[in-house]
Assembly symmetry: C2
Homo-oligomer: 333 residues x 2
């Protein structure tokens, strides 16, 4: 069996999951945005780690080195945000192909340092080595969160409201514009949102401090898939109201311009790196008093299935799929 | 300037060093085997991270997947050992090319889990993704060490004895045998020592607990280079006595058999993953009572240069070079 065969990757992820060997201090070893271990007193320690591989996660001519460095750190910080945590230290490993220039590497580090400074993160050790083919960036970030404030994917309860901490679909539309080489007034901004995501660390802390949230994840795979993670881990279902999805003016304009469905981007486009969460009815207004706007998009239900309710009152199953799959199911495309 | 040009990698390492942004809790951000931050009470937190890239660090047909998985974890555990620390949790990221089989990945994890179990390390989260060309393994390991026991590269003092926690040169000779396709009675064992290094975590703890050590590093690049790191960071020099270098019977036989110089392997061969340390005169006997044998190989001197004293009493400069460079200076080869 070769990994290239369909479905093999799911098997590999199962093997990785089964390879977890956890000790008594481990609160969560796998299956959330970060691993969680006991730290000191009432604090928990968070660790998250990600690999970015050229030609799998990025094309070198589709992103500037500064954007690449910044994004490599930002996506890990987003995992800390998704637990309600405070980010601590970052460890960066680079495998650099021979044809890269010194200036390219300097720019990558500039991007990383800029993001680190913006979120008071320390960039500490790491490893720099050669690569025969692709550029590889591996970032590990640590963080901390109070035991009473940590938010897992598994905490959603029937009756919870479902919230987003920002608009969704922009990043997916930006990627779509890059891949289809579409231009236009709003395209630059969408592409920028795809290439320069901002981790919602401040929003995550406000939500955690409110003690009114029950479950949280960051939107990396898309609202539909990431909401399905919350539902699965919590043993619940969800109803999402299409007309409440936060669509940016740029995504609305792009969709209108090219005859596309903004809901597909909003539910299926990944890499928005906003927070998707569930919690009490009062969470939205409490967060607002702390300056964080939450968009309510639906409700958690007891029955373990996901539904999309349209503006006309009709409802259809909400499949946990990415934008690419939403697109493929549209017979007109 | 392209990275492939000679010397560019040194520049990159400088850029990486300058990119360190450290906060108040950071004891050591870069320049040692692990980064060191304050943890709780008298404990310090250690973090080390490494990238293993196919065709740079290993050839897929030169190592079994089980050995590869075990070694990827072992070399990081060796970094924890070099600080005198206790290993904690491991985070593993894999980028897997399409032509890999599921069985290969299972074997890699088996190797990793075996080493993890042997040293009571928890394998927690991580990331599994695809790769267009090379297999990439990224491992991050955390650890802890008492503030009074931690050993840095920078602690060596004039008059210190220099010790090794095991024989050196075996791994380099094993790699030499692999590259030259040499066979023979002792070759299998040398190759095994190259492919299956054992981190000296127990030895590191005994040395740290004795409070008689002053500086420590693990032998990854070779004794000559790693000793130069201790000398540079400590602002001292060293004299190494050639006839006291611990040479295994297998390395002696291999060198005799093929007319090679065992001292070159001992000083220049890397990846032995034993500990190289300096400390008090009594350290060797105190460690021995705890069951850890240390080999005394020389003395730290005030003058910042390294010397090799031969059995006949003559001395020559000890250059911080790897085995390959030692070899090249031999005009008969």
């Amino acid at each position: 069996m070769r990994l290239g065969d369909l479905g093999e990757f799911a098997l590999i992820r199962r093997i990785a999951r089964e390879s977890v060997v956890a000790g008594a201090h481990v609160v969560k070893g796998i299956g959330d945005d970060c691993s969680v271990t006991t730290c000191r007193g009432n604090l928990l320690r968070l660790v998250t780690t990600d690999l970015l591989i050229e030609r799998v996660h990025f094309l070198r001519d589709g992103v500037t080195p500064r954007q690449l460095g910044a994004k490599a750190l930002a996506v890990n910080l987003s995992d800390i945000a998704a637990m309600g945590g405070v980010a601590g230290d970052a460890y960066v490993c680079l495998a650099l192909p021979d044809d890269l220039t010194v200036e390219y590497v300097e720019e990558m580090y500039r991007g990383m340092k800029g993001t680190a400074a913006a979120f008071s993160v320390n960039v500490l050790g790491g490893d720099t080595t050669g690569s025969k083919a692709d550029l590889v960036i591996s970032v590990t970030v640590t963080g901390e969160v109070e035991r009473a404030a940590v938010l897992y994917r598994s905490g959603a309860r029937p009756g919870d409201r479902i919230y987003l901490s920002g608009p969704v679909g922009d990043s997916g539309a930006g990627l779509d514009a890059l891949l289809t080489r579409r231009g236009g007034g709003e395209v630059d901004e969408l592409v920028r949102r795809h290439l320069e995501p901002i981790p919602h660390l401040v929003q995550g802390r406000v939500i955690a401090a409110s003690r009114l949230g029950h479950a949280m994840i960051d939107v990396s795979d898309g609202v539909a898939i990431d909401l399905s993670h919350i539902c699965e881990e919590s043993g619940v279902g969800a109803i999402v109201h299409e007309d409440t999805l936060p669509i940016s003016p740029e995504l609305a304009a792009y969709s209108r311009h090219f005859g596309l469905d903004p809901t597909s981007f909003a539910l299926g486009g990944g890499e928005d790196y906003v927070l998707l969460l569930t919690g009490e009815d009062s969470l939205g207004s409490v967060a607002a008093t702390a300056g964080v706007r939450l968009f309510e998009i639906g409700r958690i239900i007891e029955e373990p299935r996901m539904l999309l309710r349209r503006a006309d009152g009709s409802a259809s199953p909400l499949e946990p799929r990415g934008w690419d799959h939403f697109k493929k199911t549209d017979p007109l495309r």
